[in-house]
């Protein structure tokens, strides 16, 4: 099919290293001795464990319950016994441990009762809920819960559904093999997404270095009578980035500040479509995935691997060479070295690369930036990486945000081309995490300040109310006294019957005084209230500011409001409860 393709700026062409691992068909990895299943395997809330040590679980049984809407359930990858629910090392660059369910397989691999349904008989929200309960998440690497992306924008019509089979990272071939061998189920999965989102067209993007996958997908689309367009896109890293693929296929550019649905487009990975189909049509939650094992190994190939399999055990199947000195999870452009070989395969694990100095030579020493601009030319988001580098280095985080650091997708193109060998992406990750940390600290401080101010305001108000009450009582007292005095005087005049005007003045004066007294008390009370209010407003250093400063402050204020609307609102009430 001929179609007008668009280009994105930048991009690089690293050696693809894909042919090594496509020679053999997908193999089933054997049951490992132990499975370590992290509960937090997707973006969003951490699922709550619903099993304990000693429980017997079946394959596909729920072990972690989704926490909130943006969260996905986690299931037992095989039948066996739960050994522990404990903290374990994670395949994550942070190196931090996280809560995992450790399962000892019983070898039977016994499934739960699988319910097969025709999804067309379900309401859309039921389909979304089933996907969430089946732990379907984006398998391209971002692991965003899929059901959360299956609602079209209410205001913008859904134009295109983009299916990502580009697989642009070197070494990785799991999507390629999936499309070659299981195209039929991928296309059926895409059908579910299409029915939920109702786009005008469906575009399946595959890099032109995978003609077999494209042919298989075309055949499957034709066999199922769908009208999806299978489009071969030029091989250029990072064409498989969601935003780049959307740009190439539709011409639309999704900025960091927007959702793609705001522009009438949504994007899913082919493997996500496959697991969605298995979950809906076969009742199989996501308990395994395809993983490419490549790099410094004798027999690179793709395996169907249970989630939770220790990476070392998987790597052994491909016979790593003796000089292997580490495991990279993901591709060589965006992947990372895992802390040890015991960390488990997770839903985000698309590839393991045996690391050695032979295939990844050590980097030359870092030199100063010569502002050659190669990074800016390579950046697919058209940022100025060298400027971001200066500001990140100088910890001038305000400036990094001005130069749009959060539009950086950390694809690594800038580091790839830098003649000074500067690990640019590392600097940007550092800057981002610093900004997040400061934002968190600031929100915490703001919440504390709001609580404190609220308490002070309330104290002052109570004081003022008390003063007012006292003043009113005093006024009432005075009025009463005056009335009594007046009554006495009246009695006297009645008795004296004096014709003179002098003494008559006295009784009229007393009630007049009482009225004045009451008025004064009210005014005093009002003044006390006003004073309390004035004092409640803390003294600020923001009274004498220039227009620019005021503008900058307003901007920061508005950003804070956008960033933390939820954390600021309850500050007052929670403060009240705490007392």
């Amino acid at each position: 099919m001929l179609m007008n393709l668009f280009k994105f700026k930048g991009g690089v062409k690293p050696p693809t290293n894909k042919t090594q691992s496509v020679g053999l068909p997908i193999a089933q990895a054997p049951l490992p001795s132990r499975l370590v299943v992290p509960l937090h395997q997707s973006i969003g809330g951490t699922p709550r464990p619903v099993v304990e040590a000693g429980d017997h679980v079946l394959k596909g049984q729920l072990i972690g319950e989704a926490d909130g809407w943006i969260s996905a359930a986690v299931h037992a990858p095989t039948s066996g016994t739960v050994l522990a629910v404990e903290m374990q090392a994670q395949p994550h660059p942070s190196g931090l441990d996280a809560l995992c369910v450790v399962i000892e397989p019983d070898g039977k691999d016994e499934w739960i009762a699988r319910e097969t349904v025709d999804y067309k008989s379900l309401k859309p929200e039921e389909v979304r809920e089933r996907l969430q309960q089946s732990g379907v998440v984006g398998l391209g690497g971002a692991v965003f819960p899929t059901h959360g992306k299956l609602t079209a924008s209410k205001t913008v019509p859904m134009d295109e559904l983009v299916i990502n089979g580009a697989e642009c990272e070197p070494f990785i071939t799991c999507d390629d093999l999936l499309m070659r061998e299981r195209a039929d189920e991928v296309v059926r999965g895409i059908g579910i997404f299409r029915d939920l989102l109702q786009p005008k067209k469906v575009l399946i993007g595959i890099e032109d270095n995978k003609p077999e996958a494209a042919a298989a997908m075309r055949a499957a689309v034709a066999a199922l009578g769908e009208d999806f367009a299978v489009v071969q896109v030029p091989t250029l890293y990072p064409a498989g980035g969601a935003k780049q693929l959307i740009r190439v296929l539709t011409g639309k550019e999704v900025p960091a500040s927007k959702r793609s649905t705001d522009l009438g487009v949504q994007c899913f990975n082919v493997a996500t479509a496959y697991t969605a189909w298995r979950a809906i049509a076969h009742g199989e939650p996501v308990v395994s995935r395809l993983v490419t094992v490549s790099g410094n190994v004798q027999e690179p190939r793709n395996y169907e691997v249970l989630i939770g399999t220790p990476m070392g055990e998987l790597l052994k199947l491909a016979h790593p060479h003796p000089d292997t000195d580490g495991i990279v999870m993901g591709g060589p452009m965006m992947g990372f070295l895992v802390p040890n070989a015991d960390v488990p395969v997770v839903k985000a694990t698309n590839c393991l690369i045996a690391h050695s100095e032979r295939i990844f030579p050590p980097k030359a020493p870092e030199m100063p930036c010569i502002r050659c601009g190669a990074c800016a030319q390579a950046c697919p988001h058209e940022l100025q990486p060298f400027e971001l580098y200066w500001f990140s280095r100088a910890k001038n985080f305000g400036k990094t945000q001005e130069y749009a650091i959060f539009d950086c997708i950390e694809c690594g193109c800038c580091s790839f081309v830098c003649p000074s060998r500067i690990p640019l992406v590392q600097y940007f990750r550092f800057a981002k995490s610093e900004i997040w940390a400061r934002e968190r600290d600031k929100n915490a401080a703001d919440a504390a300040k709001a609580r404190f101010e609220f308490k002070q305001l309330r104290d002052e108000r109570e004081k003022a109310e008390k003063a007012e009450k006292l003043a009113k009582a005093a006024a009432a007292q005075a009025a009463k006294k005056a009335a009594e005095a007046a009554a006495a005087a009246a009695a006297e005049t009645v008795v004296a019957e004096s014709p003179a005007g002098g003494p008559v003045a006295a009784p009229t004066a007393a009630p007049l005084d009482a009225g004045k007294e009451a008025k004064r008390a009210t005014i005093e009370a009002a003044m006390a209230r006003a004073k309390a209010q004035r004092e409640a407003v803390q003294p600020k250093n923001t009274e004498a500011v220039t227009i620019e400063q005021q503008r900058a402050m307003d901007e920061i204020e508005s950003r804070r409001v956008v960033l933390a609307p939820a954390s600021q609102e309850p500050a007052g009430p929670t403060g009240e409860k705490a007392e």
């Binding site: 690293p14 030359a364 749009a404």
Partner: protein
């Protein structure tokens, strides 16, 4: 073990970049040595040695790794640009002074590689032409029959600096004659003097400039420089010289003469394209190049110096940060807002 992605890297380095810049200068150098005289080869050696020594000393003082930074090639590029812009028979100490000033003050005192706000070679030129105006204006007669050894003796001060050796550059000759003639001399008459002028610019020098053009195009083809700066520089220089030439062809030389005279070509492709001291955004590069071309013309035609490229580039270096600030390109997804 901690090593961040990407694990695959393109085979590039600073020394590769600098080496390719040097290679691109070779056609110009060859024409220079062949047509103007072999003395330039001696000057290149003198300047390179001085640059490496000054660089080594400054690295030592700052306790930076010697081998890593000496092999980056940046000092050699500076040295070659100095040698190529100074008069070829200038005494050795003049070239050394300029080079040491460039490396020590213009480069290292500002923070070393990648930090200098001004092009070091042009700083050297500006300092020397202000401090030693006479020596910096003595150019050999093109086609002088003198062996390399004889010329080296002149450079080293072992042979007397014969007056016959000194001449003016074609640009200077043109300007001075026009000024002295006060309207009675016209450009065509001057160009007829084939001792100084050649087919379309200075005798011999026009082919040196053509050599730089060739090398510059190669740099562009290798993607080491973008087209923006050279095109804007040459375009602006051609435009202003063209307008004035059309206005009065008797008193203003044609654009071709200006493009192939003095430092125009080496400036457009090798000096104004210096990324460290120049602009980095595409629009910024266009402004930078055009500004440098325009200023170069104004200084060389109306100013007091024989050529204006050095001062033009330095003046634009001054403006580069603010130009960059004002010409930031829109990013992915934000084009409609910019």
């Amino acid at each position: 073990m901690f090593a961040p992605a990407p694990y695959l890297l393109k085979d590039v380095s600073v020394s590769q970049v600098m080496t390719q810049v040097c290679i691109a200068l070779v056609p110009g150098i060859a024409a220079y040595a062949w047509l103007v005289g072999p003395a330039i080869l001696a000057q290149l050696v003198i300047a390179s040695l001085a640059a490496l020594l000054a660089e080594a000393a400054m690295l030592r003082v700052q306790r930076k790794p010697l081998a890593l930074f000496l092999s980056d090639g940046s000092a050699i590029v500076t040295a070659w640009l100095i040698a190529l812009t100074f008069p070829p028979l200038a005494p050795w100490w003049l070239v050394v002074t300029g080079t040491v000033f460039a490396i020590v003050i213009a480069k290292h005192l500002y923070g070393g590689l990648g930090q200098n706000p001004f092009n070091p070679a042009m700083v050297a030129f500006a300092v020397c032409i202000v401090a030693f105006p006479a020596l910096m204006s003595q150019w050999p007669v093109v086609g002088l029959q003198q062996s390399l050894l004889e010329q080296i003796n002149v450079i080293l001060g072992l042979s007397p600096r014969l007056d016959a050796l000194s001449s003016a550059t074609p640009l200077d000759a043109m300007k001075t004659s026009l000024k002295l003639g006060e309207g009675s001399v016209d450009v065509a008459q001057l160009l007829a003097n084939q001792d100084i002028f050649g087919n379309f610019a200075g005798r011999g020098w026009e082919w040196v400039a053509a050599g730089y053009l060739l090398g510059g195009l190669w740099l562009w083809q290798r993607k080491l420089i973008s087209w923006h700066v050279p095109v804007a520089f040459i375009g602006a220089l051609a435009l202003i010289s063209g307008v004035l030439w059309l206005y009065n062809p008797a008193q203003f030389a044609n654009p071709l003469f200006h493009l192939f005279s003095g430092g125009a070509m080496i400036g457009a492709f090798f000096i104004a394209t210096d990324p460290v001291s120049g602009c980095t955004t595409p629009r910024g590069k266009l402004i930078f190049g055009a500004g440098a071309g325009l200023l170069a013309y104004i200084i060389r035609v109306f100013g007091g110096y024989p050529d204006g490229v050095a001062f033009a580039v330095l003046l634009m270096n001054l403006c580069a940060p603010v130009i960059d600030l004002l010409t930031q390109p829109p990013i992915f997804g934000m084009k409609d807002k910019a």
